[in-house]
Point group: none
């Protein structure tokens, strides 16, 4: 019925941009989100490593602007997929499907807080869109098949 997640953390590595055979852009990255406490007796802070997936235009923007270590805010929903692995065992994968990503740090330490990437958000639908009484149509439909299959091996996946 309702499923909303908001995270602020840092990328554990550069985002990975891929395309489905139909040419839909998909970007995946992991956010390290520090926990608000230290566990047990230890004083070292721990983090949760949360997998983020973005699609289409937002995927392209994330791939262009995000880099390992950058402080980033993500808004989206939790999704749980499952598949049967090569031993025939069902594996569950939990990801956050992001529809809004804020780049809280830019490449140059100072300055350009208002570069294009800082406002990336998912807005689908032909014609009008959104909540604003005004428009935000995307310029281009990334349903473009570049002919190459997605090149991912199991080892690349952090789960």
């Amino acid at each position: 019925m309702l499923n909303r997640v908001i995270l602020i953390g840092r990328l554990t590595r550069d985002p990975e941009l891929r395309y489905t055979p139909a040419g839909v852009a998909v970007t995946q990255f992991t956010l390290a989100v520090d926990r608000p406490f230290t566990s047990g007796g230890s004083k070292e802070r721990e983090a949760d490593f949360i997998n983020i997936v973005t699609w289409r235009q937002l995927a392209e923007t994330c791939a262009n602007y995000l880099r390992k270590g950058r402080l980033t805010a993500v808004e989206g929903r939790i999704q749980v997929r499952n598949y049967d692995n090569n031993e025939g065992k069902r594996v569950y994968v939990t990801e956050v499907i992001a529809d809004n990503v804020r780049f809280l740090e830019s490449s140059n330490s100072a300055g350009n807080r208002e570069e294009g990437g800082s406002n990336a958000n998912a807005s689908y639908g032909g014609g009008s869109s959104g909540n604003r009484g005004g428009g935000s149509r995307e310029q281009q439909d990334p349903f473009i098949d570049d002919g190459k299959p997605i090149d991912i091996s199991d080892d690349d996946l952090p789960f």
Copy 2:
């Protein structure tokens, strides 16, 4: 940069549906949201009375399905408007512009959990719509590399 609100409460009265001169539907209602504590010495629970505004299709759905007293979840963003009143004084108005409304109680006490109204959310545009991100096939993991290209046709994609 980021502005997200989620509320659960009860309507203080029936929603009011109006139309702008251009014919855009606007519905307004107030949500009574109980506070998680009782103040001072008194034991009576207090509430915040929060004004909600919805636009377009969502406005029509809210006007049709919501009624005074109904338990309702609202997702949206805080907006602060201001105007000069008739004494020439600037007045500030804070509202939640909703883009997702869940009807947690229906007219008939029991049953119909899946009636149309229970899934109202702001998504304009004929056919495609919304805020859905992507990737929701349950049967197959698109990130498993089995050597073959991923078996998804455009028709499988939910956008």
Copy 3:
């Protein structure tokens, strides 16, 4: 840095209450959260099945008041644990550690909207503190039921 989740869905089964060897209550249940769209050509609505964990006083309240099928709102944070399974393979588990649970439906269809359970919050309860939830063991899955009591010492708990 920031990690917040809000969900509304229905319990897939009755909650399970357990105790750590030190006597800390832990309740686990799964929330079925309908997706806001239907995938592919099919018209059947899909859902994400999200594991929820509550601790201490909130765990007891959830075990007492929640039942299979009940519409429930959950607020918390995403936690990713990992442990090595019996084949020596690292398994990752994603859960929502809830610190606020709202019972949107009570046992008797009508009436008692204000029974004690409807206000369960992690902040309350004797000597408890904060918004932190709990449970962050990296080595072992407390929900694997091997017939023995859960093998957690108080020192493992971050509160």
Copy 4:
């Protein structure tokens, strides 16, 4: 029942720290939160100016670390107070009572991402507890500066 807000924006001015007569710290500031669109034909981005209130330990930390212009994340709940102004007219004030504030920019442009202030949370601090924020007087606006100390007794505070 449930009332949660998450904002990211910039302080419009330095925060203001005050104390109730009983010595409880209260800090107030305003967050400028850019809207995700530009209105009308104009190309200049607009913002919502949202009043934030923090109490106790969190108030002190905010007063110490936040400054005008700093990018800041705020988590809390919407509160609507009202009071009668000097013309005997009822005035409604909407604020966000924060229980979690993240300092996304530090004083020195580079570096120190882990300074103490970056982890301010209402749950911590001597003897405090919970996620409840504070301040819910209905009769009087503590932020009207009449030159006299703030007229609040400890009994008015809900914690």
